[in-house]
């Protein structure tokens, strides 16, 4: 594992180069080539490591170096896929089926054998996981929303990973890190982004429904404005004056309460101020 320190230097140097170019509007072709070469080198390295895993336990520093390495590969893979996506050349690149590759079982794996299995699957996923997607799914403005969701998911996951990397290996072993990297990689895939968007939409609808339910529920209360408006709406408490009803509705709509029934509006403890305002506007109270 002595090569780790060399790798670290190489990574640091590459990072400096990359960040130095970040503001120049895209990667130069030479940098792409360098990136690709480095990626192939790392994949070959980890394939070798899988064939001949270290017998000693991986420490915190080594774990973090491996994880940083893999984060770089994943990010590069994502950047390349995103670029291809926008240039409409390689739609399938985002269809990684990493979630089906063994995430669920990886969580139960421990020790060198577990790391080997997980690492193997991860490298395979980074190297060449592709699933066919119809162009019709990907066309139009929705693709921007999906990519935005990918960025959001990846950013959240990376933050989570960075925080975990501060922990010692007894609390956050390499096997856990690899599982997190699986998720980080899959967060940049089309399927996971779509699933997440669907879940977000469902959660937002549920929240909106809950808020609506709260708005449309009230505790009975009586006040001067409510009594005046009721008398205006139904002078004999049996029949309802449609002309006055329309005027009350118009005023309620002006306050954004168009979906409420007049009855709830007159009774609810939540609309005391609005009742006062409308009763005053209609000349029923001072």
């Amino acid at each position: 594992m002595k090569s780790l320190s060399h790798r670290s230097l190489a990574l640091a140097s590459l990072s400096v180069v990359l960040f130095g170019c970040a503001g120049t509007g895209g990667q130069p072709k030479a940098l792409d080539t360098l990136y690709d070469s480095y990626e192939q080198n790392r994949i070959a390295y980890y394939k070798g490591l899988i064939s001949n895993p270290p017998s000693v336990a991986v420490g915190k520093a080594e774990r973090n170096e491996i994880m940083n390495d893999l984060i770089l590969l994943i990010d590069h893979n994502f950047a390349r896929s995103e670029k291809s996506l926008y240039s409409h050349k390689a739609w399938a690149d985002f269809g990684g089926s990493v979630t089906a590759t063994g995430l669920s079982t990886a969580a139960t794996l421990t020790g060198a054998a577990g790391v080997k299995t997980t690492l193997s699957a991860l490298v395979t996923a980074i190297e060449a996981t592709k699933t066919s997607f119809g162009k019709d799914i990907l066309q139009g403005q929705s693709i921007l929303a999906v990519v935005t969701q990918m960025h959001k998911l990846r950013a959240h996951k990376l933050l989570d990973i960075r925080q975990s990397m501060d922990l010692d290996t007894d609390k956050y072993p390499l096997s856990y890190g690899l599982i997190d990297l699986f998720e980080y990689h899959s967060d940049g895939t089309f399927v996971v982004a779509l699933q997440s968007m669907t879940e977000d939409a469902a959660a937002q609808k549920k929240e909106a429904d809950t808020q609506l339910k709260v708005i449309k529920t009230g505790r009975y209360t009586e006040d001067d404005a409510g009594i005046a408006l009721r008398k205006y709406w139904s002078p004999d408490a049996k029949t309802f004056n449609t002309e006055h009803q329309a005027k009350i509705i118009t005023e309620m709509e002006a306050l954004g309460l168009g979906e409420l029934a007049i009855e709830l509006f007159l009774d609810s403890d939540k609309y005391v101020d609005q009742r006062k305002a409308i009763a005053k506007k209609l000349g029923l109270t001072r």
Binding site: T217, Y220, T239, F240, T242, A261, E263, L264
Partner: protein, 64 residues
């Protein structure tokens, strides 16, 4: 914009419950149910038809 969804008033005094039920029905709620609470007051629940579906005509109590 007609009223929509399920609208509920709790703690309605017994001497006001029929008035509340009539008020909801006047704007097309169907069904309107009243349930007696343990404290003797009522909870009135009115269900309004979906805004996209067929609408009932208002003034269920008979307009002047």
């Amino acid at each position: 914009m007609p009223p929509t969804g399920t609208q509920t008033v709790t703690d309605v005094p017994p001497n006001r419950v029929d008035q509340v039920v009539a008020g909801f029905k006047a704007q097309g709620a169907d069904p309107v149910t009243k349930t007696k609470q343990s404290d003797g007051n009522y909870t009135v629940v009115a269900v309004f038809p979906d805004a996209s579906g067929p609408q009932k005509k208002g003034n269920g109590g008979g307009a002047k």
